[in-house]
């Protein structure tokens, strides 16, 4: 409660920082905000060009030629949010050492800023994607609302993981290095670019332990498959998210004091 209170008191700083980060990223560029879209767009184009022929046949009953692109988009955008939150919170304490050392403020503001910033970027691009779905006649309808609980689970998992790594990274810089490599592997260990069904059976059983798999798969079901997600499969990522957040809370509260000595 006290935490929420103090964070509320510093809302000016949080909102201001999100605004400044956003502006800063784009104000010195010619194309400005366009870069938010261009970056994932290029990725999607590359994958579509390379994989669509390979994957097309694998979509049972697919009528639209865009099905693979939409499948890809839903996965990549969701993964993009996850990777932005985790990567940036892993480094947020180190990057902000300068102000941490000089000014007292609730330290938890920093990951909150990361979360809001990533959320903002996501909403811009996901909003455009939604418009695209509406215009191209691929909008899933009411089941689109399932995106909201999915995002909540994804974001809590990401921030829990991000804060844990962020705290560890202050003491052992290896965690930051490790995580950036691990994230790349993780991306390919999650069926985003490819379909789960193309994997051999033994890999599929192992991949079930990846908490991102059911999450991303639900996004794909909702947006590309246009059906309600299989809620039961979310139980596993949800519990992992709760565990990640608890570990984050323990690490954060226990080591925040020593953290300032290390920065």
């Amino acid at each position: 409660m006290k935490l929420i209170n103090s964070v509320w008191k510093y809302r000016g700083f949080i909102v201001g920082s999100v605004k400044r980060d956003f502006q800063f990223k784009y104000q010195n560029s010619l194309l400005g905000i366009l870069w938010i879209i261009l970056q994932p767009l290029s990725m999607i184009l590359v994958y579509t060009l390379i994989f669509s022929q390979l994957m097309h046949a694998k979509f049972p009953g697919s009528t639209s030629s865009m099905t693979y692109s939409i499948y890809l988009c839903s996965g990549i955008l969701a993964w993009g949010l996850f990777s932005e939150i985790t990567t940036r919170s892993t480094n947020t304490f180190i990057d902000n050492a300068n102000i941490l050392k000089k000014i007292t403020f609730p330290r938890i503001c920093l990951p909150i800023i990361v979360l809001l910033n990533a959320g903002l970027n996501f909403f811009i691009i996901f909003g455009l994607f939604t418009i695209f779905l509406l215009v191209s006649g691929n909008f899933p309808g009411i089941s689109y609302l399932a995106v909201i609980p999915l995002l909540i689970i994804l974001a809590s998992f990401a921030i829990g993981l991000g804060i844990s790594f962020g705290v560890l990274n202050v003491f052992f810089r290896d965690f930051g290095q490790f995580f950036s490599i691990f994230l790349q592997l993780w991306f390919w260990l999650t069926p985003i670019v490819y379909l789960k069904s193309i994997l051999p059976d033994w890999v599929q059983t192992w991949i079930a332990y990846n908490p991102m798999e059911p999450l991303i798969s639900c996004f794909q079901q909702v947006i590309a498959g246009q059906v309600w997600p299989n809620w039961a499969t979310l139980l596993y990522p949800l519990s992992i998210a709760v565990i990640a957040c608890s570990i984050a809370a323990i690490l954060f509260s226990r080591h925040i004091g020593d953290m300032m000595d290390e920065l």
Binding site: K101, I103, T104, I256, G257, M260
Partner: protein, 406 residues
């Protein structure tokens, strides 16, 4: 009601033999401790009332900044407690963590928000901040193009935009020019009159003595002296002198090249003091005050002759005045081992306001090139303040007698 209570404050850093030791401590079962504590501050206690100002002095690395950081809340104390009644604003080091790529205006907004002000409040005071900081058109330039003085001015203006109940300042003010120092001390004085408690770290004797009611001396992580600023400053200077001696000894041992004949230690300085007319040691004197330089010398071996020279330098090390006993026709001859003697040089301190040091040399004959028994820089450090004369510039008081004919 006290505005700041510090009790039993201690800080230790955990030191691990290696990164792996820390990891082991974190993950290994059992509560085995793999670190040892390195204490940088131990058992510091004091209490400040509203409107009180306290200076913190001490040599570099004594633990002053650690103390202030704990009070400001950026690092956590290992032991002890800090109670602050009201809002605390701190100026630690330079620049309040300004982001180099954001403009001064953006940084001022952000710093204000970091101090817990809302955006609305900040928008209201921004014009005032800009006016006080006198950054001019630079305000919409990125902070990376600012001079350190400009950054400091902006930081000070933001930190003091709203009157805090406790203001903590860590040497930040020494960066500004004299004009801004004056202006910021004026603001601090105003706030004090309204009840703001001030805690300031400074090496500037005049600042401490003019603004503080009390001072504490931190040495080696302990609070070693507390009292009136003058007393504490004197105590501090004694410490400094002690430190200076070690350095000199080191110099002599290592730089044999330039002082080939020196190091004989044929005579040594026992004590060098600046005394007032009541023969009390002083660190701060007034312009024109009659003072005495007392130099105690011990003769360590039989010497055919001895000349003592002294040189007063300003804080930039420029020569202000120097002479020796040879020029004053008082060279001593045939000194025997074990003898002790005291030179007393009386002179009026017709010096400008500022900080000065005295270098002392013991040698034979009129110039240094001959036997150099001991030579010590910074044998005495003192400040000159103008207490009774009209204001003037420069390093000397050239007693003006004004006459106007019209």
């Amino acid at each position: 009601m006290n505005s700041l209570i510090v009790s039993g404050l201690s800080k230790a850093y955990k030191q691990y033999a290696s990164r792996w030791a820390r990891l082991a401590e974190w993950v290994m079962p059992g509560r085995k401790v793999h670190h040892h504590l390195h204490w940088v501050l131990q058992d510091v206690s004091f209490t400040l009332k509203p409107g009180e100002a306290m200076g913190v002095v001490g040599i570099n690395g004594a633990g002053k900044s650690t103390l202030l950081k704990m009070i400001a809340g950026t690092i956590q104390p290992t032991l002890g407690e800090i109670r602050v009644n009201g809002r605390l604003a701190a100026l630690l080091e330079l620049g309040m963590g300004f982001h180099p790529d954001f403009t001064g205006r953006e940084n001022a907004m952000m710093a204000g928000q970091l101090l817990g002000h809302t955006s609305k409040e900040m928008r209201q005071v921004i014009p005032e901040i800009l006016e006080f900081a006198e950054i001019g058109e630079y305000i919409d330039q990125p902070v990376r193009v600012y001079s350190s003085g400009m950054q400091m001015r902006l930081a000070f203006s933001v930190a003091t935009a709203f009157r805090p109940d406790v203001l903590v300042v860590d040497e930040a003010l020494s960066v500004g020019d004299a004009y801004f120092q004056h202006k910021s001390f004026e603001r601090i004085r105003q706030y004090r009159a309204l009840g703001t408690t001030l805690l300031i770290v400074s090496h500037d004797k005049a600042a401490i003595q003019s603004i503080c009611d009390r001072a504490i001396l931190i040495n080696g992580g302990h609070l070693v002296h507390e009292g009136k600023p003058e007393d504490v400053m004197n105590y501090y200077n004694a410490l400094l002198a002690d430190k200076g001696r070690h350095e000199i000894e080191f110099n002599q041992a290592s730089s044999g090249q330039t002082q080939v004949i020196s190091g004989t230690g044929g005579a040594s300085l026992e004590r060098v003091r600046l005394l007032n007319s009541e023969r009390q040691a002083v660190e701060v004197i007034g312009v024109g005050q009659a003072v005495e330089l007392e130099v105690k010398v011990r003769i360590n071996q039989d010497l055919p002759e001895l000349v003592m020279g002294y040189l007063v330098k300003d804080r930039l090390g420029q020569d202000i005045f120097g002479t020796n006993t040879h020029h004053l026709n008082q060279t001593l001859y045939n000194l025997s081992k074990g003898e002790e003697l005291t030179y007393t040089i009386k002179f009026p301190a017709n010096l400008g306001v500022g900080s000065y040091s005295v270098a002392i040399a013991l040698h034979s004959t009129g110039n240094h090139i001959a036997n150099n028994y001991e030579w010590r820089e910074l044998a005495v450090i003192f400040s000159v303040m103008n207490m009774q004369y009209p204001e003037f510039l420069g390093s000397s008081w050239l007693n003006p007698v004004l006459q106007i004919t019209r």
